[in-house]
């Protein structure tokens, strides 16, 4: 491992921990939805993305793809809270639902992201919604990190995918 990748992998958890913490505070403080439990963080060989999954990429000195997948009932609840009393035309309901999922993902990741390496900017891509459930296999050069947030309305699954050398072998997310 060269010096540059040593530096990168040491800091990867410093990127992910704030995202996990922000996801919890966003749900609880902004959406009034209690998070009962956050699962242990695992590094699976493949991941199954839910049908309501939003993907955001980072660029700069940290390169990751981060996804948040929402259970249907939880997303419906998030839409209700997000929209509140605002009138939505029936024709726009599906697009609003999709854009709420994207906006929540964008806010959680955007609020949490910071560059622990050199404080240079990390840019995030516009969120992209994956409409259909999908299974992705890990290849030899990549690594998945997976964690689940559990609420009474269902789960949110967070996945981070990146080059293997960016991740520590033993992830200690305490």
């Amino acid at each position: 491992m060269n010096e540059e990748s040593k530096i990168i992998h040491t800091y990867t958890k410093d990127i992910l921990i704030p995202i996990i913490k922000r996801a919890k505070t966003f749900l609880e403080d902004e959406m009034n939805i209690d998070v009962f439990n956050i699962s242990d963080i695992t590094c699976p060989k493949n991941i199954h993305l839910k049908k309501n999954t939003v993907m955001i990429g980072t660029s700069g000195s940290i390169k990751l793809i981060i996804t948040l997948g929402f259970d249907d009932m939880l997303l419906d609840k998030l839409v209700d809270v997000f929209i509140g009393d605002d009138d939505i035309e029936d024709a726009n309901l599906e697009e609003v639902k999709n854009s709420v999922a994207c906006e929540i993902t964008n806010t959680i990741i955007g609020n949490a992201i910071d560059n622990p390496i050199d404080k240079s900017n990390i840019y995030i891509t516009p969120p992209v919604l994956i409409y259909k459930a999908k299974t992705i296999e890990k290849n030899k050069d990549s690594k998945f990190v997976f964690v689940t947030f559990i609420t009474k309305y269902g789960e949110i699954e967070l996945t981070a995918v990146g080059p293997k050398e960016q991740f520590e072998n033993e992830l200690d997310f305490k």
């Binding site: 997000f82 929209i83 605002d86 726009n92 609003v96 854009s99 964008n106 609020n111 900017n121 995030i124």
Partner: protein, 139 residues
């Protein structure tokens, strides 16, 4: 009452922004879904104020801000809206001429405060023009 152009690729955010701004007594003259549309609509509508998302497809908010500032000879009033509050990104936008920024999630109070910093007649409290030094208090 200000004539405002809302720029955001998210329909949900455009709906929220429109309702917040209407409740604050302003008029929405247009909505753009990306930075390129925003430049075109700015030329056509010359709004008093633009709320500009940063992360958008086709053309992002910073590039759009840059073009609008050239067209307006730095006279356009633009508030940047972003989830990504890293110092460098916000400072870059302020250097290009943005008059303010709001860190998502957006609220009516944040909008009122930010508008009041640019247009003193809409200020809800004593607040000065935002500049880069204010970032030290924000982050």
């Amino acid at each position: 009452m200000l004539n405002i152009l809302i720029v955001d690729d998210s329909l949900a955010i455009r709906i929220k922004m429109k309702n917040y701004l209407k409740r604050l007594g302003h008029s929405i003259v247009g909505e753009a879904k990306d930075g390129r549309e925003a430049v075109q609509m700015y030329k056509e509508l010359t709004p008093d104020l633009i709320t500009m998302d940063i992360s958008m497809p086709i053309m992002n908010g910073v590039d759009s801000l840059s073009q609008i500032m050239k067209i307006s000879q730095l006279n356009a009033n633009v508030i940047m809206i972003t989830a990504n509050g890293q110092d460098g990104i916000v400072k870059d936008a302020l250097k290009l001429g943005a008059k303010g920024f709001i860190l998502k999630p957006v609220s009516e109070e944040k909008l009122q405060d930010s508008i009041g910093r640019i247009f003193s007649e809409y200020s809800s409290a004593d607040c000065d023009q935002l500049d880069e030094n204010d970032l030290d208090d924000v982050f």
